[in-house]
Symmetry: C2
Subunit: 190 residues, 2 copies
């Protein structure tokens, strides 16, 4: 995804050695054509995996996960963070995860009726840092009895441990762009 | 949108006279083909409005807003709820709004750089009840100096005041489905 690398170099703002702001591109505004290309790329990578559902967690992973689900022709489920009035029953899988960017702990929830042992689930997210949310989603998929087809992420910060921790768990993990360093206010790709 | 009405009748769960659960369809899981059709419908309705940006608020409006932005060929901005570490500067428009379904008050935020007086903004959301979030988005658009092209919503609960309050403000408001009552555990369309 050379276009994506170019856009990250042009629009990304390096806030610190660990935080890259992609607000104009991924986490607050998206370019639908770029997102559609991202969806096509994930669909190519995971096209042989007999995926039946795409899963993400609200919010900024939703556009890329939707575009992937559209290409694969399967439903998209987005895990909700914390309880709402409309999910007050206990028919949910729930995992408690810290959020790297938000600096808080949240519960992520998926209604039990939306995942079954017959499903093969592809998890899609926008950025992986320490991978807490991703591992929470993996635990939810495993609790449901569904098979995990893999994990696709738009931007992997490979100097943090998230993606490697998934690979160490035996999860097929594909990133479209890998960033190996944000030192000296500079984005360095792998 | 007869397909949408049919799906609401088949899958919607009436929790009370005011709350309709659409978790399998809109607010927790989406069918990408249905969402793509929704995007095409909004693009037809607002195609003459010279829209330059689509705006929604996280999370469940994002798929329909993305599909609309894709059809119109313009960026999608999703307002964030509450501050995150990565938006800790004060370069944001902020409006405090109560949430009908969550039973809490949240701040919705849009980075100032993402809206300008040259923009014509189409707001898209999944469901309108009392319209607090929608009016918050309208206030943000007005603060930015951008023009408001209109408001498109997938499901309008017309027995609540939200959509009418927007029309009373002179906002062009288009809903794909209008629900006039949820009494007796029954969905009645207008």
């Amino acid at each position: 995804m050379e276009t994506l690398k170019q856009r990250i170099l042009e629009e990304g703002i390096v806030l610190s050695d660990e935080v890259l702001l992609l607000d104009t591109l991924l986490t607050h505004q998206v370019d639908p054509q770029l997102i559609a290309d991202i969806g096509k790329q994930f669909a190519r990578l995971f096209g042989g995996e007999r995926v039946t559902k795409v899963l993400t967690v609200e919010s900024s992973g939703i556009p890329a996960a939707y575009a992937t689900a559209f290409e694969l022709g399967v439903p998209l489920v987005f895990a909700r963070r914390k309880r709402t009035l409309t999910a007050e029953n206990d028919e949910v899988y729930c995992e408690r995860v810290p959020s790297f960017t938000k600096g808080i702990v949240t519960d992520i929830l998926v209604a039990k009726q939306l995942l079954s042992p017959n499903d093969r689930v592809l998890i899609i997210d926008d950025i992986i840092a320490n991978g807490d949310a991703a591992r929470g989603l993996v635990r939810i998929v495993r609790k449901s009895g569904a098979e995990l087809a893999g994990f696709g992420v738009v931007v992997e910060k490979s100097f943090q441990s998230g993606a490697q921790s998934l690979r160490d768990m035996g999860v097929r993990c594909e990133s479209l762009v890998q960033i190996r360093s944000l030192s000296d206010k500079t984005v360095q790709f792998r």
